[in-house]
Symmetry: C2
Subunit: 385 residues, 2 copies
Amino acid sequence: MEETRMKKIKTMVALALMVLVLSACGNLGGSSMSTGGESSSKSTTLTGKAESGDYQGVIQNGRYVTSKSRGVNVSQNDNQYNLKSFENGLLTVSKRVFSPDKYIFREGQLLSTSTVQDWLGRQSKSNPTGLNPKDNGSTSPTKRNPIYLQQLEEQDYMTQNGKNLKLSGVTIGLGLNSVDYYTKVKFGATYETKISKAEAQKQGQAIANTVLARLRKRAALKNVPITIALYRQASNDSLVGGTFFAYSTNKAGTTKVGSWTSISQANYVYPPSSGSSNTGNSNDSGSFENFKTQVQSFFPNLSGVTAQAQYTDKKLTGMNVNITTQFYSQTEIISFTQYLQQAAQKYLPANAPIDILVKSADGVQSYLSRSANEKRFTSHVFNSY
Amino acid sequence: MEETRMKKIKTMVALALMVLVLSACGNLGGSSMSTGGESSSKSTTLTGKAESGDYQGVIQNGRYVTSKSRGVNVSQNDNQYNLKSFENGLLTVSKRVFSPDKYIFREGQLLSTSTVQDWLGRQSKSNPTGLNPKDNGSTSPTKRNPIYLQQLEEQDYMTQNGKNLKLSGVTIGLGLNSVDYYTKVKFGATYETKISKAEAQKQGQAIANTVLARLRKRAALKNVPITIALYRQASNDSLVGGTFFAYSTNKAGTTKVGSWTSISQANYVYPPSSGSSNTGNSNDSGSFENFKTQVQSFFPNLSGVTAQAQYTDKKLTGMNVNITTQFYSQTEIISFTQYLQQAAQKYLPANAPIDILVKSADGVQSYLSRSANEKRFTSHVFNSY
């Protein structure tokens, strides 16, 4: 019975902690804070945490504090996969440095739209702050100066001190091209300059140094830790975005990037497109192929089954499966989802977080999900009255 | 301590039962069964249960057993909301009669596409089995004979006896028009005949009697309980489907419908469309309006916020909230979802199951859900690599 009592006590402690954590989450219209240096008449609240590993965000007067350079990266990316993976990846890098338990996320407030746009341009007389090299006049794919820096994002990390939010860290993401697409004449054919990984890294590190020095000239950023992360953009025809390959943490006051930590990450698409050399992990690719075959034989009508997979240090760290169906009836969707739950557990790689989304022309039909440490998938069938 | 011990025993019993239930779920490629009367060389398995209140479905030779009249109802409905709500509603009625703990769901195997198509037509010399009245020649909205029966669905309920699946119940859903849309000449203007609830009920009950008598003439259905449920179709401009209003359970062998049990169910859209008299429950409508106002002020760009709500016996029994956004960045979607979690808990009606789907032009972005007996919403943000 002693063991039972201990277990009971442990449960109670866990519950009490949970209540503490929950009540620590920001609450709507609840206690307000003021942001350091700004008018304290503004009411600042937090979004609350949906999951324990997430950051809370900052709300001011009931409105989300959006980025000062909002929308710039949308126009900078022809391949939308580079947008989501860049933002998600930057959050993941930030979590290594600024723990979500201590820091609060705020969209970048220091670099404005025009600053970022200028920085992303070529250096020229009219744009002295451009971080991309001067135009050397050549239009040859191998002789011209390509655009190295394609997108840039600032993320602010705040700490809470009583009723105040204080800027306590900044993360800058630099998106570097693997291919620079250009035209020789306006609206002309598109040509490509390929940029090797080594070249992108060299250029990215140089740009990072310039960015750090510039940020330190701003009063608000003089004494704040600044993390800079380098991302390699995927090509425009890729069905998966790029990946971060290095980051550098720079203590308050430092004006030169000291050292770089490399990130070993790779994204693949399953099944690999024919002729592609990026076939990913052959075990996982085989498992996925089996899953796909099973799923496609379940219904008389074929459904499209593809996946994005991400590997960190050669280990599968996430998979997004997309299933596109013909029109299925609601009872068919329910049965299909139940079947997927078993087939996914049986065939898809274990020990990695996996999302499965079932879509038809009418929109999302159902969804299944499993965390890294779970065995069973949870599922949800979307209903309509 | 006695109480603790009792609790522990209860937990163990519950766990043991859970294991039993889980192991009773069909498993892929596991033990096979044969369906009564059919060749036992076919391998029959079950889909497994995703949630405890769901039916398992029937798989034969790795392929889902689809309905023999698959696709008929799709062509019968101009308003797709009538499709999903009809199928979901019929499942709900069936669960009252054939418990998912005991019965296994099979898509209708007894009525073929041509049978259902004939039954849904008008009675005529060339179509003697038509369940809709003869054409009386009139094209006047009030004098013509309207089409009462718009869609029909069969659902089969099986029991497992060792390795055999046996048909042990059938549910028939009859979808009856509230408005019959017709043209006076081919491809001409559309006219409407309105059908009162009383008239639809009278006609539906008569059709149910005919259907029951016909089914009893089939050897396979002579001695099987048959449930018939009546559904009132929503009009074509409705943003929510119709509802079931009555059902009748008929014991094995009976050839006349004995008695009807009424179902009090109503669907509403929030916010109600301007000028609509179907404004729903004013408390819930007000709560939703507050939620909508909060959510729409969160971002500078407006997002569309609407809901479908279902009431059973005047009590809110479910709500599907749809939020359509402009393009938001991934960090904005994460923060928005966290905010929604709090706003939904604070403003939306308590004690009802609620789904919230956040969509953009790119597809589904995130989703939140709460069961009837929970307080907190769980959420999921869809990711991309």
